[in-house]
Amino acid sequence: MANGVPAGLLYSKEHEWVKLDGDVATVGITDYAQSSLGDIVYVELPRTGAQLTQFGSIGVVESVKAVSDIFTPVGGEVVGINDGLESDPAAVNRDPYGAGWFYTVRLNDVAQTSELLSPDAYERLISEA
């Protein structure tokens, strides 16, 4: 991990991370994102079973003073959501890559991950910001 950007994950320009396990991807927001948003108070997640299109706007992250759209870094069917965020949205601030995960998707096309950034590329993106 360099500059807090974990290796082994892929990233989007909208500051989401993706962990791939075969054709199932886990999605969350990065440390940079949670830090910019401030204290997270609510996460609006897609429903299980929803069909997502890559880079479509599919949910919202709310902090006290701001709201950010979640643009899903991957498309496919939502197979799981992190219910715990309802009662503990602070998990996103505390542990954005672990307990603060958002949802899992069965990818409709694994090749789409080529659209995402490597850890190095994402690190460059945030250091230029």
């Binding site: 108070v41 609510y42 609006e44 709310e62 902090s63 006290v64 003073k65 701001a66 709201v67």
Partner: protein, 454 residues
Amino acid sequence: MYTPHTPDEIGAMLEAVGVASLDELLRVPDAIALREAVELPPRCAEIEIAARFARHAERTTAGAYTSFLGAGAYRHYVPPVVGALAMRGEFLTSYTPYQAEVSQGYLQAIYEWQTYIALLTGLDVANASVYDGATALAEAAIMAVNATGRKGVLVSRAVHPNYRAVLRTYAEGLDLAVDELPYAADGRTDTSTVDAALAEQRYAAVVVQSPNVFGAIDALPPGVAGRVKATGTVVIAVVAEAMSLAALAAPATWGAEICAGEAQSFGNAIAYGGPHVGFIAATNAHLRRIPGRLVGRSVDVAGRPAYVLTLQAREQHIRREKATSNICTNQAHCALCATIYLAAMGKTGLRDCAALNVARTRELRDKVAALDGFSARFAAPVFNEVAVRVPGRARDVLRALEKASIIGGLELGRFYPELDDCILMTATEMTSSADVDRLVAALAEVPARAAARV
């Protein structure tokens, strides 16, 4: 008189700014400079302002009549303590409590308003107010649409016609279908077709008003709300006469998930229709869709209880085009008047008030129906309004009543052509038995030949 500047001060300030004159300070391109004088009333000293309004008041003679009008705006006794407190300058002249540290008083008052509305409706949460009952309904419908993704609402025809009209205005902007449920012979909503209507699951909400426009208690019958919800449709209850909440079963108890209503009856003047005060209450499931402001209780740095506007991320100043609503300014001061009224009247006063309303309306209904040719149009029990069927046309009877200095009520034919022989008559705790007797005496004079419908 409201600008304190002396000529010397203006001179000194212009010099500090580095501009020679006020005209130069406000210079505009010729293309948009004022071409002609504006046509305005002449400037008045304060005593002349008072004289002008005295004249306007003289030309507003409605107060000289004994009135049986209701239909969405109700005459109730407002104890002077309400005005004495609400008109305190800090309450009157403060703005939205964005700087919470200096607004704890108003914020707590709104928290108390939110609590009163939640307690009265039986629901979990209420917002800090919306413009009026009609716009509350429109906003509630939008909440249901957002909750379900369905772009249609099914509304009872016994919901106040002005409310339905406003709903249609809003629906036009959002491409929502608004379909109607008829009312039944007894004056309540005809729910016999609801199951069939909801079978295709294309409605976001079913909307009923109780008491409805005819004054009839119109809660959904047992079982109906459950069947509506089973189709994923939201039950919205409308309350136009908030005083009814002091007596009748709370909307939550008969299945409402969202209650949209009008609280003018609590401590607010009728004032020719505004400002009044709308409320929206809902179950926790709908919390994040509620429009407008919400006051929450938290703590400050020293751990003291402290109130603050919260969940603001939903609102226009942050969410902008994705906001739950565009509402910014609400009806805070009217909500404050309502809160003070509810505090002063208390449980006992409100119970008594509601009971007096029901009793006086029953007296009116019984005495009027005893006259030849007059009857209660609908059989359903009512709160404080009753649709009275008259001989001939309602409008003729109303005109005759005016000659006796009585405004008999609302001509229902104005909104329901099939009811052009009906007047909606309202009696509150402000209506005396003597008023009712005068009405009855005047009605008894209505010529017998009018009994033959033309």
